[in-house]
């Protein structure tokens, strides 16, 4: 009886762990998209996310976590293609501006000003985007 209970308990713990892990994975998968959707976070022309105005520490921590991962990807690709990290980052921003910034979401051009994308109007991209 006690042994059976222990087994059930162990199975429960294992299930909870799996469910928890999946939850984290799902959260990770749309971290950047859901951050943009809050309106507290936007995309910058330098290839990183930024906080629009003042956001809670939790939001800023999530932004930092995303940016650390981006930096790692940029560094890797820059080394692979013999480009500067900043060039890889800026090229990525060109693509993000074109495809990831949704209506009502924020972006920040090279002039440093945060702007909101209005309706279906395309996000203006820096000249070097081509």
């Amino acid at each position: 009886m006690t042994r059976r209970l222990k087994l059930i308990f162990a199975a429960g713990v294992a299930l909870a762990a799996i469910a928890g892990g999946a939850g984290v994975a799902v959260a990770m998968q749309d971290a950047s998209a859901s951050l943009r959707a809050t309106g507290q976070v936007g995309e910058q022309a330098d290839g990183y996310m930024g906080v629009v105005g003042s956001a809670p520490a939790g939001v800023r921590a999530q932004v930092d976590a995303v940016n650390i991962k981006r930096r790692a990807f940029y560094t890797e690709l820059a080394a692979k293609r013999g480009a500067k990290i900043e060039e890889v980052a800026a090229t990525t921003a060109c693509e993000i501006f074109a495809t990831k910034v949704g209506s009502g979401q924020y972006y920040r051009g090279p002039d440093g000003t945060w702007r909101q994308r209005e309706g279906s109007a395309p996000v203006p991209r820096p000249g070097y985007c081509g």
């Binding site: 950047s32 022309a45 995303v66 981006r70 990807f73 480009a83 693509e95 495809t99 070097y128």
Partner: protein, 68 residues
């Protein structure tokens, strides 16, 4: 007389060094908070590099939906 002044200077030396260090540290601390506010795109982005990297960047974005 001169000896005592000399001694005083000698004793002042470490104090001066500490003061200088404090002033310099103060300068560094003052400039630090201003940096993250600026958006760092002062570097020259070469368009031919952007064109060359475009496909790689598209792949990178598509493979990592949580990060981009």
């Amino acid at each position: 007389m001169t000896a005592s002044i000399w001694m005083g200077r000698q004793r002042l030396k470490p104090l001066l060094a500490v003061t200088m260090a404090a002033i310099l540290a103060g300068c560094v601390q003052l400039s630090a908070p201003e940096k993250p506010i600026e958006i760092n795109l002062n570097i020259n982005i070469r368009q031919e590099v952007v064109v060359r990297l475009q496909q790689d960047v598209k792949d990178l974005i598509n493979k990592n939906p949580g990060v981009f």
